[in-house]
């Protein structure tokens, strides 16, 4: 009897232990590090973080990217998922091609886009041969912040829309066809069917996709590093610089705590904003 009671706990024990050791302990250490100063406990690291030359730029850049990229990705992924429903022949092939970016590391994706957009890259070569520009243009310098921002947005759209798409496709497959058929019997247009039937039923998938994507978007790093270097500071790159180059671990930890607070707030926002209304299935 007792053995049967223990079995589930014993089975999950290794994963719990693993998380505790390699996740919870470093988390506590990070928080402790962030609040540790030379003379004891205090907000010195946070002061130094806010005083960092690139702090406000990093906040602005990070939020700017999240606000532009995540909605665009959701819209694109929704469109792709809807279109895929109508594809009969070669559906698997289309699915496969659309999800290729999932298998590519962020840094590799960033470098690929760098080779396209850099001064002597593919884009300039094509534009030059079409005689649209007289000489190679620089798109990624501190003098061209808008082009640099757009370049990172495009690279992120290319790289990370697939994860939203995959989650939505899984959700779409769970929506019973009968609902839509019923709606069309009652004369709903295709937009009405999408807006009133499919979208509400997809809400749990959209919630998951948004939480995942937003959290990851706040932590954007490798793509920005490859394309923007120090011209486009984001929160994680600042944490990395303080840890690796400046070797002030307390300030790096302060950045990490700030990022954690922001992503937790974003997750909470989605959980509340997209929670099922009364009477709806969760």
């Amino acid at each position: 009897m007792g053995r049967h009671h223990l079995a589930p706990y014993l089975l999950i024990a290794p994963s719990l232990l693993f998380l505790l050791l390699l996740f919870f302990v470093p988390l506590i250490q990070t928080i402790a590090l962030a609040f540790q100063t030379g003379s004891g406990i205090g907000l010195g690291n946070f002061d130094q973080m806010v005083g960092d030359l690139d702090f406000l730029t990093a906040i602005k850049d990070t939020f700017g990217l999240v606000i532009v990229v995540v909605p665009l990705q959701l819209a694109l992924a929704l469109g792709m998922a809807m279109m895929l429903r109508k594809v009969r022949f070669g559906r698997d092939l289309v699915l496969w091609i659309w999800t290729i970016p999932l298998g590519i590391s962020d840094l590799a994706a960033g470098l690929a886009w760098l080779s396209i957009l850099t001064e002597r890259g593919y884009l300039n070569t094509v534009l030059f041969h079409l005689r649209l520009i007289p000489r190679p243009e620089s798109w990624l310098t501190y003098e061209t912040p808008t082009a640099l921002f757009l370049a990172i947005v495009i690279a992120e759209l290319w790289r990370a829309t697939a994860i939203v798409f995959v989650i939505l496709v899984a959700g779409v497959q769970l929506v019973p066809a009968e609902y839509e058929e019923a709606a069309s019997v009652f004369g709903a247009t295709s937009w009405q069917r999408f807006r009133r039937v499919t979208l509400p039923l997809l809400r749990p998938s959209i919630q998951t996709a948004l939480i995942l994507r937003t959290v990851l978007a706040f932590e954007i790093f490798a793509v920005v590093l490859a394309i923007g270097g120090t011209n486009f500071p984001v929160l994680i790159s600042q944490a990395f610089i303080w840890q690796n180059q400046n070797q002030v671990y307390g300030v790096a930890a302060a950045y990490a705590v700030l990022i954690m607070a922001i992503t937790l707030a974003a997750t909470l926002f989605y959980l509340l904003a997209l929670r099922p209304r009364a009477g709806e299935p969760a």
Binding site: G38, L53, G229, Q243, N244
Partner: protein, 431 residues
């Protein structure tokens, strides 16, 4: 849960993994040689197959990122079965290990250094301000200028490459921009570029005669104003450049300043297209930064005797020349330069020599004694440059602000002044 997981990869990942995953011991008994130099993959491979080929003791060469060196050595010492027997690192990177008491004094080897012809000044440096010899000078490098021969036609009248001034450099860049329609002067101001060294070792001391003590002086204000006007002729991609050899080879940049090792590809691939020459002079002479790499033996070394044999081997003239061929680091011992040396290396070597021997030359050391604060110190220079040159903030105000920050860093590190600032009683003071 999802929200916090990346924290782990950020902090846990960077801090823990960086310290541990790099050392993959090769064969069980090879002597472990940890080095912050010769780190690029190809150089590291050639270090194993060419430089260390004739070593009397089999060596496992392990490259390590400079910021991780101290952490790695400390972790190794505490591990119970230390593996590192030999450390190769910059003068300034070895200094914090001395502070920690991690290095074993090498006084017994001083006679050998004399025999090898290592200059006495270098041996003094290798004491790192203590009474004992802390490391053995291994190889040296510095930063110089390079230009495409296409740019020489735009040199201002009366300017000589070997004795250029910063004014003339600005004029030259302006002329070249006018003629080519593009800004062709370039600096390595990218994420891993060495731009901070340009301010610490070249520009600031050439204008003010110091680095720390003169940071907020009127001379420094003039220097930043001058540099800001030169920057109008600098390729804006400079904030992406890490190694100037690349934009030189692609033709995006025609005139550049960088570390000799980061220019060498240009000279190697097209020795006839490029010229090497000393850095310009300012009102207070030609300040340049010699880079000295040393070999040290940690106190916890499992094979200190073997390490000494490897040091002896690395200092042999033939090995030093092989090292030069592989890395562009110049010999520290008296070694005859072979006639068949790569013409690019020869060109660089002549510029290095001319820079050292210039009548108004004075060396400015890499920051010493800052220990774990050296990254913060370097950041003050890049921040100052960002504020004044890229963001157009008021020079006087920025220097006052960053000067305070610099004093704060020096106070925390309790670092005394280093050359070219005059020696100080106690912590170095920004005046």
């Amino acid at each position: 849960m999802q929200a916090v997981r990346p924290l782990l990869s950020m902090l846990g990942g960077v801090a823990i993994l960086a310290g541990l995953n790099v050392t993959v011991p090769a064969a069980a008994k090879d002597l472990t040689f940890l080095s912050t130099q010769l780190r690029p993959m190809e150089e590291a491979q050639r270090t194993r197959t060419e430089i260390l080929k004739g070593s009397p003791v089999p060596v496992d060469f392990v490259p390590e990122e400079p910021p991780q060196l101290v952490i790695h050595v400390q972790a190794d010492m505490k591990s119970g079965s230390p593996s590192i027997s030999l450390i190769g690192a910059l003068h300034g990177e070895l200094a914090p290990l001395v502070t920690l008491g991690a290095l074993s004094p090498l006084d017994g080897m001083e006679d050998m250094l004399k025999q090898d012809g290592i200059p006495a000044g270098m041996v003094t440096l290798a004491h790192l301000g203590t009474d004992h010899l802390q490391y053995i000078p291994w190889m040296q490098a510095t930063y110089i200028m390079a230009a495409s021969k296409k740019a020489l036609q735009y040199l201002p009248a009366g300017a000589k490459l070997d004795s250029l001034t910063y004014d003339q450099l600005g004029q030259w860049a302006a002329n070249a921009q006018k003629a080519t329609g593009q800004p062709v002067l370039g600096f390595p101001a990218g994420p891993t570029g060495l731009m901070d060294r340009f301010f610490e070792g070249y520009l600031l001391p050439s204008f003010t005669g110091g680095v720390v003590t003169t940071f907020t002086s009127p001379d420094a204000e003039k220097m930043w104003a001058d540099f800001k006007s030169i920057w109008q002729h600098v390729n804006p991609n400079s904030t992406n450049y890490n190694f100037m050899q690349e934009p030189l080879l692609s033709g995006d940049v025609l005139i550049a300043w960088d570390h000799v090792a980061r220019l060498q590809d240009a000279f190697r691939k097209h020795p006839d297209d490029f010229v090497a020459f000393p850095a310009p002079s300012g009102p207070k002479g030609l300040s340049f930064m010699p880079v000295l790499v040393g070999l040290a033996i940690p106190k916890s070394a499992p094979d200190a005797a073997g390490a000494k044999q490897v040091i002896d081997y690395l200092l042999q003239p033939a090995t030093q020349i092989t090292t030069l061929r592989v890395s562009s680091f110049y010999p520290v011992v008296k070694a005859p330069i072979p006639g068949n040396l790569d013409p690019g290396l020869k060109a660089e070597m002549a510029a290095v020599q001319a820079q050292q021997d210039a009548p108004d030359a004075h060396p400015a050391l890499l920051p010493v004694g800052l220990g774990s604060h050296s990254g913060e110190f370097d950041r003050i220079f890049t921040d100052t440059y960002q504020r004044i040159v890229l963001r157009g903030q008021d020079i006087h105000r920025v220097l006052q602000l960053e000067g305070k920050q610099m004093q704060h860093v020096l106070d925390e590190a309790k670092a005394p002044c280093w050359a070219p600032d005059p020696p100080s009683q106690g912590t170095c003071q920004v005046k």
